[in-house]
């Protein structure tokens, strides 16, 4: 009846993101929220959370209704603890996403957008194993710039996209695409039951390349 659509943004705030990239990410999230607020479907359904990771991972915004969402200022420094971020995400899914039981309709499976510009510096496999035990909807990983390790991302999800450069306009284009992905549209005739592949999402803009 009132299923929520949880959306988790898992964002790299390591030292290499300092300067233009981190500012662009912060603006990108704000743009994303404004766009979703203007979509009557998302406004009714979508809830948003932000998890950042550098030397450690933390949830800077818990799962929040769009109209109450406020993006805190984020800083870039430290390492790239992608593994911790995935573990934290798994924990937050447990505590924040309502499971469907035989009696009660729970939330939709969460959508996850991961953005990173480097290679993980911790045991990412351990975090991934945790996440794999949880029920998620589509997980999209975004390699921001050439320094990101797409091989690792490919093991997290089949849906990997890459930005050629981590500058303001490409990051903006990415978040715009995320917003379009959260809004629903017509279902194509040849789609399956579950949201699995990138084919389920609107075509990414030219700045966002699909990694195959």
């Amino acid at each position: 009846m009132a299923r929520r659509l949880p959306v988790y943004l898992v964002l790299d705030t390591s030292g290499s993101m300092m300067g233009e990239p981190i500012a662009a990410v912060e603006t990108g999230v704000q743009t994303l929220v404004s766009a979703l607020r203007q979509d009557p479907y998302a406004l009714e359904t979508a809830y948003l959370s932000v998890i950042t990771f550098d030397s450690s991972a933390k949830q800077v915004v818990p799962l929040t209704e769009l109209t109450a969402f406020q993006m805190p200022s984020i800083q870039a420094n430290g390492l790239t603890s992608l593994g911790s971020a995935l573990s934290l995400l798994a924990n937050k899914i447990d505590s924040e996403v309502t499971k469907t039981t035989a009696e009660t309709k729970g939330d939709w499976k969460p959508l996850v957008f991961i953005m990173t510009d480097g290679g993980p510096t911790d045991d990412w496999q351990k975090g991934l194993n945790e996440l794999k035990k949880r029920r998620t909807g589509m997980v999209v990983a975004c390699a921001a710039g050439q320094g990101a390790d797409t091989n690792v991302l490919k093991q997290i999800t089949e849906c990997v996209v890459q930005l050629d450069t981590a500058d303001r306009s490409t990051i903006k284009a990415f978040f715009k695409w995320v917003s379009a992905s959260v809004s629903t549209g017509s279902q194509k005739v040849d789609s399956g039951t579950e949201m699995v592949g990138l084919g389920e999402l609107p075509p990414p803009p030219p700045e966002v390349n699909i990694v195959v």
Partner: protein
């Protein structure tokens, strides 16, 4: 200043557009013509032969079939129909009229438009949701309940015309219908996906909330499998019924509390597909809405025990039963768009303004009781309420009931479609038939019918002709003949009096 691009349409006519993208949809990028009366929308992807052929027919033969006939002008307000095909830089595009100004928010959301939607399109979803209505939309954007009936009439009429031409929209949803609750207008957009039975297969299943159960239940089957169901006229009928239910009641008819599977995606497919069950089914209570699961902003509209679908009156209740009980899993039993249009029109004549000035809905459908009460705010109607029962003659000298009643309120009009059984208030009305024939007035504690254009008006009870410019008082049991022509009606007055 962006360049103006001049190209030729495939029909040889000139087309101009300003080279700045004003919007991007799922498949197309949209540009304005220099005078902003038209848009040119280019498909981002290459279109195959089939798609091209389909668009050729939609802008050509099918458009002409609907628009190039007597009364064709009427449909310009009800559809945003593509008029021409263009090709530019290897991309195929369509020329469409620009949406009317009233389909863009003029105020938007509450708190000085905190959502920033002013100037954006009035997508139907804003209005089909109790939460969006109660929590976000500015009261100036919300309209009253009467306007939602007009919107539903317009949508039913537009769908009826498509179906009469043998076309199925195939993706009717609140995304593809723009509406304006401040004026009661509605317009069907995204016409380029029209399905012509036997000619082009649909490329979309539809939009969640509106896809027919048989389409969802068979979507796992391969294309070409005989059991696979795809969008067609009967699935449009399901979508239309859902849309009318949602615009009048602000909730979904199939989204109740029943859990069919603990996996949300599988549960969605079952509850909208093979196991779909009306939340207000009279005997099968398995899918009742669980009010404790609703958010406060979804109330009271989200709770069918507070506002049951019967508030829409007897004619619509019957059709909702056909659509969501008999026809939910039996496409042939679903009401046609024409039936919806007729039932909505008859229901409008049963509506009364609510006497409570702060009532949000402002109108309600007469509940056929001696103590009429607004089901939304609970205010009782006080005073005399005339109900006119309409009869017409099928054989000289005898009158039989038309199952049609007209509720009277002050300064309400009497029209030709009330006067004559053979006239319907639709696109076929002549200018003469659109003129008011008379009106009702509450004056010195009496209800009067004032004659403006009826030559045969006669008080049968008193045996007295009522000339143009004269009036007749409505008293309980009075018989008034409206017309002696073929199909002409007789009214019998019933006065409901609920004293304070």
């Amino acid at each position: 200043m962006a360049n103006t691009v001049k190209i030729k349409a495939t029909d040889g006519s000139d087309v101009e557009f300003v080279d700045t993208v004003i919007g991007a949809g799922g498949m197309k990028d949209v540009y304005f013509s220099p005078d902003k009366s038209h848009v040119v929308a280019f498909f981002r992807d290459r279109q195959d032969f089939n798609a091209k052929d389909r668009l050729q027919n939609i802008t050509g033969v099918y458009r002409e079939k609907i628009f190039n006939q007597i009364g064709g002008e009427y449909w310009k307000d009800l559809y945003c129909w593509p008029t021409k095909i263009v090709e530019h830089n290897g991309k195929l595009g369509l020329v469409c009229p620009t949406y009317h100004k009233h389909f863009f928010f003029s105020t938007g959301s509450i708190n000085n438009d905190f959502l920033g939607i002013k100037g954006k399109e009035k997508e139907g979803k804003w209005y089909a949701s109790a939460k969006n209505q109660n929590k976000f939309l500015d009261p100036k954007e919300r309209g009253d309940w009467f306007k939602y009936f007009q919107i539903c009439i317009n949508i039913s009429r537009a769908v009826r015309r498509l179906h009469a031409a043998g076309l199925a929209h195939s993706d009717l949803s609140y995304k593809n219908v723009l509406l304006d609750p401040t004026s009661g207008k509605a317009s069907i957009i995204d016409i380029d996906g029209l399905v012509v039975p036997g000619k082009y297969p649909p490329d979309v299943l539809g939009t969640p909330d509106f896809i027919a159960p048989e389409v969802i239940a068979t979507k796992h089957l391969k294309m070409g499998d005989a059991a696979r169901q795809l969008p067609k006229i009967t699935t449009d009928r399901h979508a239309l019924a859902v849309m009318i239910y949602m615009y009048l009641l602000y909730r979904h008819p199939l989204r109740g509390g029943k859990v069919w599977d603990t996996d949300p995606a599988k549960d969605e497919d079952l509850s909208m597909g093979a196991k779909a069950l009306f939340v207000e089914h009279p005997t099968d209570t398995a899918n009742r809405v669980k009010v404790k699961d609703l958010q406060p902003s979804q109330l009271p509209q989200g709770d069918p025990t507070k506002i049951p679908y019967s508030v829409c009156g007897p004619y619509l209740k019957k059709l909702f039963d056909s659509a969501f009980i008999d026809g939910l899993h039996n496409p042939a039993a679903r009401p046609t768009a024409d039936e919806w249009e007729q039932a909505l029109l008859k229901t409008v004549d049963l509506m009364q303004p609510c006497q409570n000035p702060s009532c949000w809905h402002k109108w309600f459908v007469f509940d056929n009781t001696a103590k009429p009460k607004c089901p939304f705010c609970g205010a009782e109607y006080h005073g005399q309420l005339p109900v006119l029962n309409l009869y017409s003659s099928r054989r000289a000298g005898t009158f039989t009931p038309d199952d049609y009643r007209l509720m009277v309120f002050s300064e309400q009009g009497l029209y030709q479609w009330h006067v004559n059984r053979n006239i319907s208030p639709n696109e076929k009305l002549t200018a003469e038939q659109k003129k008011r024939a008379g009106y009702f007035l509450f004056h010195n504690n009496k209800w009067l019918l004032v004659n403006e254009r009826l030559n045969d008006l006669e008080d049968k009870t008193e045996g007295k002709k009522i000339l143009i410019g004269q009036f007749v008082e409505l008293t309980d049991g009075k018989q008034i003949l409206l017309s002696k022509e073929d199909g002409g009606r007789l009214i019998i007055v019933q006065l409901v009096a609920n004293k304070r």
